[in-house]
């Protein structure tokens, strides 16, 4: 290897013991779209369309940038979608086409949620 590896024997998500700043005692009320992501995860895994390990693998493959730049449920919806595509429940083009339709329905989540 000519490049210096960006990690030494462990991947980015394996962060126990790493240096980090203060813990901010913060929390937020979950938005409806976040609760829906959570519900889709529980329902789809409960019906056997993917496993927790499948979700974890997709999450961990997203890399460090995703962890720093995306919110928790943003990472979840990405990994749920990927697992459902891999399982053959939906196709990538179905998802892309529907997202394009959703995007032009309105400027806010509420407007776009109304099919």
């Amino acid at each position: 290897m000519t490049n210096t590896p960006s990690f030494y024997g462990r991947r980015w998500h394996d962060m126990g013991g790493s240096k980090a700043g203060p813990i901010l005692d913060e929390t937020h009320d979950f938005a409806l779209w976040e609760k829906r992501v959570d519900a889709l995860m529980v329902l789809c895994s409960g019906k056997g369309h993917f496993t927790v390990d499948g979700l974890r693998r997709a999450l961990e493959d997203m890399g460090e940038a995703a962890y720093e730049e995306m919110s928790y449920y943003e990472r979840w919806i990405a990994t749920i979608s990927q697992n459902l595509i891999e399982a053959g429940v939906i196709t990538q083009s179905e998802l892309a086409d529907r997202m394009a339709q959703v995007a032009v329905r309105g400027d806010t989540y509420g407007e776009a949620s109304r099919a």
Partner: protein, 214 residues
């Protein structure tokens, strides 16, 4: 900050800025959630009602469930034994629908203080206590708790005696923990409901202690 708000195209009908949660433009990931949900409904994988029921079920879970377990363990030695042996079974005995959660209760004593974390992701006894607070999922909490737990606890306002052993439990998706805090002094003769009011979420994560009797 209304006085910094120069974008008058985005005022509500009453000429006030929209609340920030209504004001945000639709994001790419929200589009994905909407699109995925619609496709799953159309394909018969789930229904809008099932999704709504699942959201209600998760919303109904809260630290109060854990507080009821703890308060019973404080007053019922046989139950405490069962809780420490098999916390999943003890939770189900109390009527809590915890799904497939495998739960392990760890007891705080005069000698030992327990803290839970998930360094690899965000595993939390969510099927009993509800969704975790944001800080539990934060990089700072996940990274530091296994390395410098006393410093982390100090930041949560908890200073433990030097002679207390601090035991950190790293959760996984298949094995999650709940701390059984020590019963506060001055609560002799209290009934379970009154005791449960002292049991905070953080006292069951180990980043806090139960409230002290007023």
């Amino acid at each position: 900050m209304p006085h910094d708000h120069h974008d008058h195209d985005h005022l509500s009908p009453s000429d006030h800025p929209y609340r920030s949660d209504d004001d945000v433009p639709l994001t790419y990931w929200q589009q994905m959630e909407i699109a995925l949900r619609e496709l799953l409904i159309e394909k018969g994988v789930t229904t809008p009602e099932e999704i709504a029921r699942q959201i209600d079920a998760m919303d109904a879970r809260s630290p109060a469930n854990g507080a009821a377990l703890v308060a019973r363990a404080w007053t019922d030695p046989a139950f405490k034994e069962r809780l420490l042996q098999d916390a999943s079974a003890a939770s189900r005995d109390m009527g809590f629908d915890i799904g497939p959660l495998r739960l392990i209760a760890v007891e705080n004593t005069a000698q030992v203080h327990n803290v839970i974390v998930c360094t690899l992701c965000s595993c939390y006894p969510r099927n009993l206590l509800g969704l975790p607070p944001d800080w539990y999922k934060s990089r700072a909490y996940r990274s530091r708790t296994v390395k410098e737990p006393r410093k982390v606890l100090f930041e949560f306002g908890l200073t433990l005696p030097d002679e207390t052993t601090v035991r950190v439990h790293d959760s996984t998706a298949d094995m999650r923990y709940i701390v059984l805090p020590a019963r506060p002094k001055g609560t002799d003769g209290w009934d379970r409901d009154r005791l449960a009011e002292l049991v905070t979420r953080d006292s069951m994560v180990g980043t806090g202690l139960p409230s002290t009797p007023a």
